[in-house]
């Protein structure tokens, strides 16, 4: 009965959660740790590269939209395109705000929005690609 559901709802950015899962007894885990001291980290590391990134629109829907959509207005509008000359400054501002929080906005750590997902989100925001999402359009 302990089969793990592995579908897209396991939204981890680090693909390791897609390992076939089996409950191990404590003794078994100990043994594993002892006998595979090197194998375990290697396996983890290789799977970590199989990241399953969410698209920027999906990250925006799951995390940002609840406060930043126009009909919510808890946070400021963030989806308007920026002139290319301001992308670096604006991008740094978004990155710092996401990672460290600002005023009413909580911080979101790497486990919630991976670095790669954050960079994709920033890029899409700067280009104005999520403007429709902010008004609730698909």
């Amino acid at each position: 009965m302990y089969n793990i559901t592995t579908d897209r709802y396991a939204v981890n950015s680090n693909g390791t959660n897609r390992l076939p899962f089996r409950l191990l007894s404590c003794t078994a885990v100990k043994r594993l740790a002892i006998v595979s001291g090197l194998l375990l980290p290697m396996a983890t590391a290789s799977l970590a590269t199989a990241a399953e990134e969410r698209e920027p629109a999906e990250v925006y829907r799951q995390v940002c939209s609840h406060c930043h959509n126009l009909d919510k207005a808890v946070g400021p509008m963030i989806t308007m395109p920026f002139p290319e000359g301001a992308w670096e400054v604006r991008g740094n501002h978004i990155r710092n705000t996401v990672r460290q929080g600002r005023a009413a906005m909580p911080s979101f750590r790497e486990a919630k929005i991976s670095d790669a997902e954050l960079e994709g989100l920033i890029d899409a925001l700067l280009r104005g690609e999520l403007a429709n999402a902010a008004v609730g359009e698909e």
């Binding site: 009965m1 709802y9 396991a10 680090n14 191990l24 609840h66 990672r99 460290q100």
Partner: protein, 516 residues
């Protein structure tokens, strides 16, 4: 491998910490062991008053499964490294993702986000700590199950496991979250793994349906505590009812709170109104979408005259009751008549639902969403009320009796006024109890105001305790003080349990004031 700012766990030598870090990396991979200050920034103190320097982690560990948690805990035991466990880390206003004290290693379970099972027949779920309400909501929607969640106000970005373990509440009939929890998998401090309830029976099909198992019931030991790391949790989901009617009742006089609670109590106990009802004060109801300076720009507590203007201009009552009826259309019609009769008796209440309620100026739309388990973060608008993002939840518990409201409300307003803060509050009527939830909002960018908020919160705790009102939950800065209000005999039992289950004191030292 080096840290830019070398913070060490309390009592751990640098060489030992480095050795532990090395083993952590061997266990979960280097990319899942965070030590750089840039990586650790999201794990520092956020909304709560207190010294920033008191809440800096030395590292963060991001395991992917319970077996890795077991191994990490064993390493921590060997090197006496204290860890502070978080799941989604969105316990906003209670400590968020920051450690309980500087130097602790964060055990961040957010990557453990598997939805293991949702059973649409017995209406249960088994999930890991990193699962958010949004994730579970999306899953249920896609599967087409007619099941509702019960999110707290941060809904989408928070998660059922963390909220339940902190004994948080929501707004549907399943609002008392721990009451609807069923079965846990827990990693103990020694690395052993246990399953509570029926979970110890191999091949049991009743882990998520029968809470008590056999022998002492121990799930409660793993809530608001530091006796183990919960790696899976079962919960009950509410079947979607055939009909749903959220409604709003407004009262205009500050004194009316006593009548409201006395009318509500029998309706709640008899389950005519089955959900956690909120009685929202003007400033909370306005604060989710109105900015304070529109009505008052002073540094002191907002005056009565401004509150009256808000009521007038925004269409908000002094007290705004949000509740709902659930069931078949016929059941709702019968229960609606009872509600109308009960609240209509004194002639003071304005009772409404549907379009009429939507057109009022308060938070009907978002309250109606939360009372049916939809994702909605409109309540975050409160953080803009005063501006500056400081927030601490003060929430004493009392009986659901009108006689318990007048003194409490006046005491809170008097203490908040003394420190220049506003009474942004609501009462949540549970089954027989009442949480008097006050959001102490302040500008955390202003050190003087932050210190005032800190002093105000401390005084609220003491003065309410003197009158017999204890908190149901608090933030990491005040856990020690609140534990003290519940008396030494209880604390001694908590300590004895800690010493028995975690003799090296490695799990979340200081949680709920519990240490070795």
């Amino acid at each position: 491998m080096s840290t830019t700012q070398r913070i060490l766990p309390k009592g751990v030598a640098e060489a030992d910490f480095d050795a532990a870090l090395s083993l952590f990396r061997d266990t979960i991979g280097s990319e899942s062991v965070l030590t750089e200050s840039e990586q650790l920034a999201p794990y520092t103190k956020f909304m709560m008053a207190g010294e920033d320097a008191d809440y800096i982690p030395s590292a963060a560990l991001l395991p992917n499964n319970a077996e890795q948690v077991q191994e990490l805990v064993r390493i921590c035991n060997e090197y006496k490294v204290p860890i502070w466990t978080i799941s989604t880390g969105k316990n906003l206003g209670y400590g968020s993702a920051a450690p309980g004290e500087t130097g602790q290693v964060i055990l961040d379970l957010h990557r453990m986000n598997r939805i293991i099972n949702v059973d649409p027949e017995v209406c249960t779920a088994l999930i890991e700590p990193g699962v958010t309400y949004q994730q579970l909501y999306d899953y249920i929607q896609e599967k087409g199950y007619k099941l509702w969640l019960d999110p707290p106000a941060p809904s989408a970005i928070a998660g059922p496991v963390g909220n339940t373990l902190d004994r948080g509440v929501g707004y549907t009939p399943y609002g008392e979250h721990f009451m609807f929890q069923c079965g846990m998998e827990v990693v103990l401090a020694n690395g052993e793994m246990i399953r509570t309830g029926m979970g110890g029976i191999e091949n049991s099909s009743s882990w998520q349906v029968f809470k008590w198992g056999y022998g002492p019931y121990i799930d409660g030991l793993f809530t608001q505590s530091n006796y183990g790391v919960v790696t899976k949790m079962g919960l009950w989901l509410m079947p979607e009812p055939p009909a749903y009617r959220p409604f709003l009742i407004q009262y205009q006089d500050p004194e009316d709170i006593a009548e409201i609670v006395d009318v509500l109590r029998p309706l709640r106990i008899s389950q005519i109104i089955p959900n956690a009802v909120v009685i929202v004060h003007t400033l909370w109801d306005a604060g989710t979408h109105v900015v304070r300076k529109t009505y008052y720009d002073g540094k002191d507590s907002i005056p009565r005259e401004a509150i009256e203007r808000i009521k007038q201009d925004e269409g908000i009552g002094e007290w705004n009751v949000y509740a709902a009826l659930y069931g078949t259309p016929e059941q709702i019609e019968i229960n609606w008549k009872i509600v109308e009769q009960a609240f209509g008796a004194s002639g003071k209440a304005k009772i409404m639902y549907g379009e009429e309620a939507e057109q009022r100026g308060g938070g009907f739309e978002y309250r109606a969403a939360l009372m049916k388990g939809d994702m909605n973060l409109q309540e975050f608008g409160l953080y803009n009320w005063r501006g500056g993002g400081g927030s601490m939840w003060f929430a004493p518990v009392s009986q659901a009796k009108g006689s318990e409201t007048k003194d409490q409300t006046e005491l809170a307003q008097q203490i908040l006024g003394k420190y220049g803060f506003d009474y942004v509050a609501e009462y949540i009527v549970g089954w027989r109890d009442m949480h008097h939830v006050i959001d102490l909002l302040y500008n955390r960018e202003d050190p003087e105001e932050t210190q005032r908020a800190h002093d105000c919160f401390a005084e609220l705790i003491d003065e309410f305790a003197k009158r017999g009102y204890g908190l149901y939950r608090t933030n990491t800065e005040f856990m020690e003080q609140v534990a003290g209000t519940f008396g030494e005999p209880l604390r001694n039992v908590h300590t004895a349990l800690k010493n028995a289950l975690d003799p090296n004191g490695i799990l979340s030292p200081g949680k709920s004031g519990i240490r070795q």
